[in-house]
């Protein structure tokens, strides 16, 4: 510092002279230095502000794109749902209403049968044989009242015959009535059958109507999404976030399941697969176990695709029902095979563990017997069951996996937007701070040269009246 002093023996005077000289210099260089500082401010703070503005515009664009993607994907999803429901309606119509003509025919037959029976039992009161007219005619013959014994006898006979005839007619009527009652009673089961058929028709029609109702609901949702209002965007965004969180939870749990599964088969795999080499630091047997676990997940994905529960591969969705069924059976067969293999490996694992324990005991001199000590059967059964069940549980992971893939697109871009937004804010704040600092520096600069400035102003004010006077 002392090397800067003009008079090293008089530091205060030296400093005062240096300050005064710098003041004069800065006063004289005021205009260009102001310009330089302003340019620097424009360059840095202005640049940062522009960057912040650019980031903001990028965020807006990304938000718009994200919004569009969300809308489009949901529109596609709604369309798919509606198409699926239409397919279901078609299937429902084919399944339930295909029987309708046969049902109708049955109904017709039953009604015709009822009609015929009904006609048959139409009640016609049987009349007494035509004696009454004959009796009346005979009664009007002259001499019937004269007490002619022949006529009287004849009349008595006639009367007797008429009474017999009436009785016969009555008996005939009773017989006919009983027959009709029988016919009518035989109608009851037919009525019941018709009632049953009608209930069946009602159920099937209700099923069809229910599916149609679903379509209506989906159509309403579709309309809402298509309109793309803020409410529906918020709703879709929250739905996607919720799906993302749930699927993450489920997949994490499934990950632990896969880990348990892997641990269950890794040891016995070393008995089957040569473990002499490693790939990326892992035993080949461990990789084989990992491949089995992964294959289970893959087969699960195909199973769910074939069942139309998920829609990851459009090619599978486009397959005919017959081909899908084939794929379903193939996936089921594969899963069953892997589950059986795992169950066997789990049993082998228990055997190896028991042998290891027996060997260690034998080496420690605790038991004289060598390897092959039988372990608990419960443990073996438990491990085998676990080995058989875990692949089926892992196969279900296809559903949350699809959910995760679908929702992650939106959630991740939302996260990226948030980060970019944050960076934009930070850049804006830094720009503002730099701008303020530069202005403050200029003010401090002006304050530092206040004495020469004031003197300069004084000279200016003196010279100005002189100029104005002249």
């Amino acid at each position: 510092m002392s090397s800067f002093y003009i008079w090293p023996e008089m530091p205060f005077l030296s400093i005062a002279v240096l300050v005064a000289a710098s003041m004069v210099f800065l006063y004289l260089a005021r205009a260009p230095l102001h310009l330089a500082l302003d340019s620097l401010n424009d360059g840095i703070a202005g640049g940062l502000e522009r960057t912040a503005a650019w980031i903001k515009s990028v965020v807006v664009k990304m938000q718009e794109k994200n919004r569009k993607v969300l809308l489009e994907s949901n529109i596609a999803e709604s369309e798919q749902k509606i198409a699926q429901e239409f397919k279901r309606v078609e299937a429902s119509y084919t399944k339930h209403l295909a029987d309708y003509p046969a049902l109708h025919l049955k109904l017709d037959e039953n009604i015709t049968s009822i009609d015929a029976d009904f006609k048959e039992c139409g009640q016609v009161i049987p009349e007494a044989p035509g004696w009454n007219d004959a009796v009346e005619s005979i009664a009007s013959i002259k001499g019937t009242a004269s007490g002619d014994r022949v006529i009287e006898k004849m009349l008595k006979e006639l009367h007797k015959s008429a009474v017999d005839g009436e009785k016969m007619a009555l008996s005939e009527m009773q017989k006919t009535s009983s027959k009709r009652h029988k016919i009518l009673s035989s109608l009851a089961p037919i009525w019941k059958k018709i009632l049953k058929l009608m209930t069946e028709v009602d159920t099937k029609v209700s099923l069809v109507l229910e599916t149609s109702g679903k379509i209506e609901k989906y159509m309403q949702d579709y309309e809402k999404v298509r309109q793309g209002g803020e409410d529906s965007i918020d709703m879709l965004s929250s739905k996607a976030t919720k799906l993302f969180i749930f699927s993450i939870i489920v997949i994490t749990v499934a990950g632990f399941g896969a880990f348990v599964n892997f641990q269950l088969i890794a040891l016995p795999m070393s008995e089957l697969v040569p473990a002499g080499t490693r790939v990326l630091g892992m035993h080949v047997s461990d990789i084989s176990a990992l491949v089995i676990v992964t294959l289970e997940v893959v087969l699960g994905i195909f199973l769910m695709e074939a069942l139309a529960v998920t829609n990851i591969f459009p090619q599978i969705a486009g397959l005919t029902i017959g081909k899908r069924r084939m794929l379903l059976y193939a996936a089921l067969l594969g899963l069953f095979f892997l589950a059986s293999v795992e169950a066997a490996l789990a049993v082998l694992r228990e055997h190896i563990a028991a042998t290891n324990a027996a060997t260690t005991q034998a080496l420690a001199g605790n038991v004289e017997t060598t390897a092959g000590t039988e372990g608990s059967k419960i443990t073996v059964i438990g491990q085998a069951t676990l080995g058989f069940v875990l692949p089926w549980i892992l196969a279900m992971v296809a559903v949350p996996l699809e959910m995760l893939i679908e929702s992650s697109q939106h959630v991740l871009s939302k996260l990226i937007i948030l980060i970019i937004k944050l960076v934009g804010y930070l850049v804006g704040i830094i720009g503002h701070l730099l701008n303020t600092i530069m202005k403050t520096i200029i003010h401090i600069y002006d304050a530092y040269i206040i004495i020469p400035t004031q003197i300069g102003n004084l000279f200016k004010s003196k010279s100005e009246p002189a100029h104005s006077g002249s």
Partner: protein
């Protein structure tokens, strides 16, 4: 077509990366060498020494590991001093059978009456070191069952190379105290200290002379 070509290229690169990651297991294996002193007073410890190896070292070996038993006698730098070798198969069932077979070999060794007048510890260590190096195992451990008092026969010379024990963890096990040690513990301490300096000077990875037989398993795991 271009996309297909790109896909094929990516697949090829991925396969190359995957298979270039293939390596043999040697760097993950553990090779152990147990030196058994059968000379002088330590010969009485043979049975307890074998018990420690059977119960402490053998159960800790995993498929792929190896164990070799060498005896320390008057002239230990001799292939005849190798009393048993074990290289575990990668199949656990085979490995267990091998362990049991080796345990029997150890029992036979314990039963044999063999003794030596001199104690050539350095020769045994050199033989053990060259054996361990030949295994190329990632972890190499040398257990010395001895009183650590070396007595070389006249004419026998032993000097270690600079990197004689490079990457080898050395542990002196079951070091019994001799009569002179009981009289003056400093003699024992100095002897052990001298060995420590000697092995560390010749690039040993670690030295341990206070290992309890029950801690062998943990010691192997720690160094693995």
């Amino acid at each position: 077509m271009i996309i297909k070509r790109k896909m094929v290229s990516i697949l090829l690169i991925a396969s190359v990366v995957f298979f270039s990651g293939c390596s043999d297991n040697k760097e993950y294996e553990t090779a152990i060498c147990a030196l058994a002193d059968i000379s002088g007073t330590y010969a009485k410890e043979k049975k307890s020494m074998v018990k420690i190896i059977q119960a402490g070292i053998v159960p800790k070996l995993v498929p792929g590991d190896s164990l070799v038993l060498m005896s320390i006698d008057s002239n230990s730098f001799n292939e005849e001093n190798i009393k048993g070798k074990l290289k575990l198969d990668y199949r656990p069932s085979q490995a267990n059978q091998q362990k049991l077979k080796f345990a029997k070999a150890l029992d036979d060794f314990a039963e044999k009456k063999a003794s030596a007048k001199y104690t050539d510890i350095s020769g045994a260590m050199m033989l053990c070191s060259s054996h361990l190096k030949s295994t190329q195992a990632g972890t190499q451990i040398m257990f010395i069952f001895s009183d650590m008092k070396e007595e070389l026969k006249a004419g026998i010379k032993r000097s270690f190379n600079k990197d004689e024990f490079k990457n080898i963890n050395i542990a002196a096990m079951n070091v019994i105290k001799l009569n002179e040690d009981s009289t003056n513990p400093q003699v024992f301490r100095n002897r052990i200290k001298k060995w420590e300096k000697r092995v560390l000077k010749h690039s040993a990875k670690s030295w341990n002379a206070s290992l309890d037989p029950t801690e062998i398993g943990d010691y192997i795991d720690k160094n693995r």
